[in-house]
C-alpha cells in the first residue's frame, strides 16, 4: 500500500518551483488559502504559520509532532523572535493535518537544491520510497525540526510577516517604511509617537504579498531565541489533561485487542472464537490476513477474550530461526564477503599486509525495541464514506493518508486529530512502520462507532520495527613505531544514515565496507538510527587502538583530530569538566566517546565503578555538545539528559532476541531500562560555536555505550565487544593503568 500520488501533485502545484524553502511556506497562495479556509472573524493569517487577531493574540502553527522534545515551544520562539512579537502574546497550536501545513516541502526543497538531507535518508533508503512519495507529509524525525523547519520556514515566516505588518503600517500612516520600527508586537513611528498593535494591522497586512527574501536577524538581535523559556506543553502534562492518542474517548467507543502473527510475515490459517464470543461485552472477532482481533465494550474484556481464541498461523521457513542463527549468518557473511564500498581512502588492505602488527576485533549489538511509554494504539471512526482518526504519530498527514489508502477513501474524507505522542523514538513514523494504523483501520471499518485498537505492551515489544542487530569486524594496522596506519571495517547493513560508520580520525588508509544484514526481522529507525550501533563500534575500537599504541585514549583522539576542531573542542570541554586526568575516587574510571550526528558534535565522559557484586554503576556522565547555538538552552539540556539515558538503557540492558522466529521478550522485566536507581548524574556543557543549529533529539544517544564500556575496560581490563553490558561478568582483575 502506498501513499497516493494525488497529494503530491497538489503540493507541487502550490509550491511551484520550490525556490527557498522558507519562502515556499510564505507564498501568497498559501496564506490566502489559510485565510479562506481557517481564519474566523477578525483573525488573519499573515503567513501560513502565523495568525493574528484583533486583540493582538498571535497564534503560531507548528507543523511537527510534540513528543516531549519541546518542538512546539522552540519553533514558536523562532517565528516569534523574527516577528518581533512579545512572547506574552504568543499562542501555540498544532498545525492541522492538511496539506497546507505539509513539511514535506522541506524535503523537496532540500532534495532539489542539495540532495536529500542525511537525516531523512532513512525514510528514503529503508523502504525504498521514491522521494515523490514523501513530499506531502508532516514528518517529525531525524532531529530535523529546528534545523530545517525552524531555520527556514519558521524564521522566514516570522520575518516575512513582520515586513508585511511594517508595510501595512507605512500605508496606514503614509510614512516611509524605514521610519518605522517593531517591538513587542507593535509597529512604532517614533517621529510622531504613533504606535499600532500587530492586531490592528493584521487585516491590511494579510492582503499584501509576502516579501521574497525577508532579512533574518543576526544573533545579537535575538530577544526570544537563546532564552530558557518554559515549554508550553508542560502544564497539561502535570494535571492529567494532556491528550495522547490512547486517550481518545467516547461513550459509544468499542475497543480492540489484537494478536498478530508471532513469526513476522506469516498468515492466519484458522480461528475458533466460540468461547471468546460468549464473554461479557464481546461484540465480534475479526479475522485479518496476519492477525485476529476481539472487539468488545472495554479493552480489558477484549484482551481477556483474546486469550480464549484458539488460532493457528501458517508454518514458515523462519519458524526455526533464532538469534544464534542470525549471529552465525552475519559472521559467515563477514568472513566470506567483502561487501560494497562505504568509504575507501588510500589502500588499507595493502597496509594490513605490510603492517608490523595488526589488531583485530569483532563487535556486535542486538536488535532493540523502542518501548515508548505509550503503547501503540489507533482509534478510527468510520461514518459512511468518511473517517476520523486519533493516534500518536510522528507524521499526521502520513497517518491520514495511510488510513485513506487502507480504507479506500479519498484523503479529503479522512480527518486526523493530532495529540501529544507518548514517546516516538522512530517507532511512530507510519511510512516505515504502520502496523497499528493498518490494523486499527481494517478493524474499525466493520463498525459505525469509534474503535480503539491498543497493542498490549507485549504486542508493542514483539511487533516493532527494531534497531537492527549488527556485527562489525575491525582490523587496524600498526607500523614499527606503533603508529596506526590503516583502519579496516566490515559491518552488516543496511546503511540507513550515510557516514555514521565513518571516523573523524586522521588515519591515512581506511577501508569501510558493508555486507548484507537482512533477516526476516523488520527493522526501522531507532533514536539516532545507525549512529547508535556505529558509535559503539568505532569509539570502542579507536580506544583499543589507543591502548595498543600506548597512548592515553583522550590524548590519542586529540592527536588525530587536528582537522576536526569541533570534535576536539567538545572533547576538551568535557574532559576539563569531568576532571579527566585528575585524581578520581578510588575504584572509579572515566571512559570517553565523541560523535558527530545530525549536525551536532557530542563528547561524553562516563564515570563508572563496580559495586560490591561487581555490577557496573554509572555515577555521572559529563557531556559537551556543540549544536551551533541553542534556540532554548533548557530544552537542549533536557534532550541531552534524555538521549544519554535512552542510550544507557540500551547499553546496559537492551536486547531483543529471536527464538523460533519470534521475539522472546514481552515486557519490561525482560527488556529492562534505566530507572531512577540506575540513572547517573548528568552534567551538560553547551559549546556555542555559532555554526548552524544542530539536531538535538538524537545526538546524545550515540556516544554513551562506548563511554561506559571504555571506562569498564580501564577498571577491569575487560573489553566489552558486544552489548548489552549486563550479559558480561566483571571483576577488578586487571585494571589498566592510565598512561
Amino acid at each position: 500500500m502506498k501513499v497516493s500520488r494525488r497529494r503530491f501533485i497538489v503540493s507541487t502545484a502550490l509550491v511551484g518551483g520550490g525556490v527557498l524553502i522558507g519562502y515556499s511556506a510564505t507564498r501568497p497562495s498559501r496564506h490566502s488559502r489559510a485565510n479562506n479556509e481557517l481564519a474566523k472573524g477578525s483573525e488573519r493569517f499573515i503567513t501560513s504559520f502565523i495568525k493574528i487577531d484583533k486583540e493582538n493574540e498571535i497564534t503560531i502553527f507548528v507543523p511537527h509532532s510534540e513528543m516531549g522534545q519541546g518542538i512546539h515551544t522552540a519553533l514558536s520562539m523562532m517565528a516569534a523572535d523574527e516577528l518581533d512579537a512579545s512572547w506574552e502574546d504568543i499562542k501555540i497550536e498544532q498545525a492541522p493535518a492538511i496539506d497546507l501545513f505539509a513539511n514535506g516541502d522541506l524535503i523537496k526543497g532540500f532534495a532539489g537544491e542539495f540532495g536529500v538531507p542525511d537525516a531523512l535518508m532513512p525514510l528514503v533508503n529503508m523502504s525504498a520510497f521514491p522521494i515523490a512519495e514523501i513530499m506531502n507529509l508532516q514528518i517529525t524525525g531525524g532531529s530535523s525540526s529546528v534545523r530545517y523547519t525552524g531555520e527556514t520556514a519558521m524564521r522566514t515566516a516570522g520575518a516575512a510577516a513582520r515586513k508585511m505588518l511594517l508595510e501595512a503600517a507605512a500605508n496606514r500612516l503614509s510614512v516611509p517604511i524605514d521610519e518605522l520600527t517593531t517591538e513587542l508586537s507593535h509597529v512604532n513611528h517614533n517621529a510622531s509617537g504613533q504606535s499600532m498593535s500587530y492586531g490592528q494591522l493584521a487585516t491590511d497586512a494579510a492582503l499584501l504579498e509576502p516579501p521574497e527574501n525577508p532579512i533574518l536577524k543576526d544573533r545579537s538581535q535575538f530577544n526570544i531565541m537563546g532564552k530558557a523559556i518554559s515549554r508550553n506543553d508542560i502544564p497539561a502534562k502535570v494535571d492529567g489533561s494532556a491528550m495522547f492518542g490512547i486517550d481518545a474517548h467516547s461513550d459509544d467507543m468499542l475497543f480492540a485487542a489484537i494478536k498478530l502473527a508471532p513469526v513476522f510475515g506469516t498468515k492466519l490459517t484458522s480461528v475458533d472464537a466460540t468461547e471468546a464470543l460468549t464473554l461479557r461485552g464481546v461484540k465480534r472477532v475479526i479475522e485479518l490476513e496476519d492477525s485476529f482481533a476481539v472487539v468488545a465494550d472495554s479493552y480489558w474484556r477484549a484482551k481477556n477474550a483474546l486469550a480464549l481464541v484458539d488460532a493457528t498461523f501458517e508454518a514458515s521457513e523462519n519458524d526455526s530461526i533464532s538469534s544464534s542463527d542470525i549471529d552465525a549468518r552475519f559472521s559467515k557473511e563477514l568472513a566470506e564477503n567483502n561487501g560494497s564500498k562505504d568509504k575507501e581512502v588510500g589502500d588499507a588492505e595493502a597496509e594490513l599486509e605490510a603492517a608490523a602488527d595488526v589488531l583485530e576485533a569483532n563487535y556486535r549489538v542486538p536488535y532493540l525495541a523502542h518501548a515508548a511509554m505509550e503503547p501503540m494504539n489507533c482509534t478510527v471512526h468510520f461514518k459512511g464514506d468518511a473517517a476520523e482518526v486519533w493516534t500518536s504519530t510522528q507524521d499526521a498527514l502520513g497517518t491520514a493518508g495511510r488510513v485513506a489508502t487502507v480504507a479506500g477513501l479519498p484523503e479529503s474524507k479522512v480527518t486526523f486529530h493530532q495529540t501529544y505522542c507518548g514517546g516516538g523514538f522512530g517507532r511512530r513514523v507510519p511510512l516505515l512502520n504502520s502496523n497499528v494504523i493498518d490494523h486499527a483501520t481494517l478493524i474499525a471499518m466493520e463498525f459505525d462507532v469509534p474503535v480503539k485498537t491498543i497493542f498490549s505492551r507485549e504486542d508493542d515489544m514483539q511487533q516493532d520495527h527494531y534497531r537492527p542487530a549488527v556485527h562489525n569486524n575491525f582490523k587496524a594496522a600498526f607500523d614499527v613505531n606503533n603508529n596506526v596506519t590503516a583502519w579496516h571495517s566490515r559491518f552488516t547493513g543496511p546503511i540507513s544514515v550515510p557516514g555514521a560508520s565513518h571516523i573523524p580520525y586522521a588515519i591515512e588508509n581506511q577501508s569501510i565496507r558493508v555486507v548484507d544484514g537482512k533477516t526476516h526481522v523488520p527493522i526501522g529507525p531507532w533514536r539516532s538510527v545507525d549512529h547508535t550501533q556505529q558509535t559503539f563500534f568505532t569509539e570502542s575500537f579507536i580506544d583499543e587502538i589507543a591502548n595498543r599504541a600506548g597512548v592515553n585514549p583522550y590524548q590519542f583522539r586529540i592527536n588525530l583530530l587536528q582537522d576536526h576542531p569541533r570534535h576536539r573542542k567538545v572533547l576538551e570541554v568535557a574532559a576539563e569538566a569531568a576532571g579527566y586526568g585528575e585524581n578520581l575516587q578510588e575504584g572509579r574510571a572515566l571512559g570517553i566517546a565523541v560523535q558527530e550526528s545530525f549536525g551536532s558534535f557530542v563528547a561524553e565522559i562516563a564515570e563508572v565503578s563496580l559495586d560490591e557484586d561487581n555490577q557496573p554503576i554509572v555515577h555521572k556522565v559529563t557531556c559537551a555538545i556543540d549544536c551551533g547555538w541553542a534556540v532554548n538552552p533548557d530544552i537542549v539540556e533536557a534532550q541531552i539528559e534524555s538521549g544519554i539515558i535512552f542510550g544507557l538503557s540500551a547499553a546496559m540492558y537492551g536486547e531483543i532476541t529471536i527464538e523460533n522466529g519470534r521475539v522472546a521478550q514481552g515486557n519490561f522485566p525482560d527488556y529492562e531500562v534505566v530507572r531512577m536507581s540506575s540513572s547517573p548524574k548528568i552534567e551538560v556543557h553547551i559549546v556555542e560555536s555559532g555554526g548552524a543549529p544542530g539536531g538535538l533529539g538524537e545526538p546524545a544517544t550515540p556516544p554513551i555505550a562506548a563511554a561506559v564500556t571504555n571506562a569498564l575496560y580501564i577498571l577491569t581490563g575487560q573489553r566489552v565487544r558486544d552489548l548489552p553490558i549486563m550479559n558480561h561478568e566483571f571483576s577488578i582483575g586487571n585494571p589498566v593503568a592510565q598512561v
Binding site: G68, D233, D239
Partner: protein, 157 residues
C-alpha cells in the same frame, strides 16, 4: 457492582470484580490522566492513590478497592490541598514539575507525580537511596535527574 470513590465522587459500576482499577478509571469512568504502560505493575504509569498511598492500578482489581477513596492525577491538587496547594491550583509537587521542566513526552508523568507525592507524604526528606528505592517508575524520556532535583527541592521547601 463495584462501589468506590474517585476524586471524591462515588461511582457505582456494573463491572466484574476482577476488572483492574486502571481500566475502570479509564474506560468506565472516562478519566484518562491515569495511563496504561505495561499491565503488569512494572512501569508505574498507572499509579493512583488509594487512601493516600501509591498503588499500581493495572494489577489492582476493583474488588480490592470496594468502598475506598481513590485519587487520580486529576484530583491530586484537591486531595492533598491545604497548605500544599500553590496559587496555580496545583499541588506543590505538580508545580515543582513545571518549575523543573520535568515532563518530556509526559506519558509516564501522571504516575511519576502520584508516586512522588505518596513518597513525600510518608518521608518528607528522602535521601537519594530512599528515592531510588521508592520511585521505580519508568520514564523512557529520561526525566530522572530532574525528578530527583525536584524531590530534593520539595523536601527542602
Amino acid at each position: 457492582m463495584a462501589t468506590f470513590k474517585v476524586n471524591g465522587i462515588e461511582h457505582i459500576l456494573d463491572i466484574e470484580p476482577e476488572m483492574p482499577l486502571l481500566w475502570a478509571i479509564r474506560d468506565e469512568i472516562g478519566l484518562t490522566g491515569t495511563k496504561f504502560g505495561c499491565g503488569i505493575a512494572s512501569c508505574g504509569a498507572c499509579t493512583v492513590h488509594i487512601n493516600g498511598k501509591a498503588v499500581r492500578s493495572c494489577v489492582t482489581p476493583v474488588s480490592a478497592v470496594e468502598g475506598q477513596e481513590i485519587t487520580t492525577i486529576e484530583g491530586l491538587a484537591v486531595a492533598i490541598g491545604g497548605t500544599n496547594t500553590s496559587l496555580s491550583g496545583l499541588a506543590a509537587v505538580q508545580q515543582a514539575w513545571i518549575d523543573h521542566q520535568i515532563p518530556q513526552c509526559g506519558y509516564c508523568q501522571s504516575g511519576m507525580i502520584m508516586a512522588v507525592s505518596s513518597l513525600l507524604a510518608e518521608n518528607p526528606k528522602p535521601s537519594d537511596a530512599e528515592i531510588d528505592a521508592g520511585i521505580t517508575n519508568i520514564c523512557r524520556c529520561g526525566s530522572y535527574p530532574r525528578v530527583r532535583k525536584a524531590i530534593h527541592a520539595l523536601a527542602n521547601a
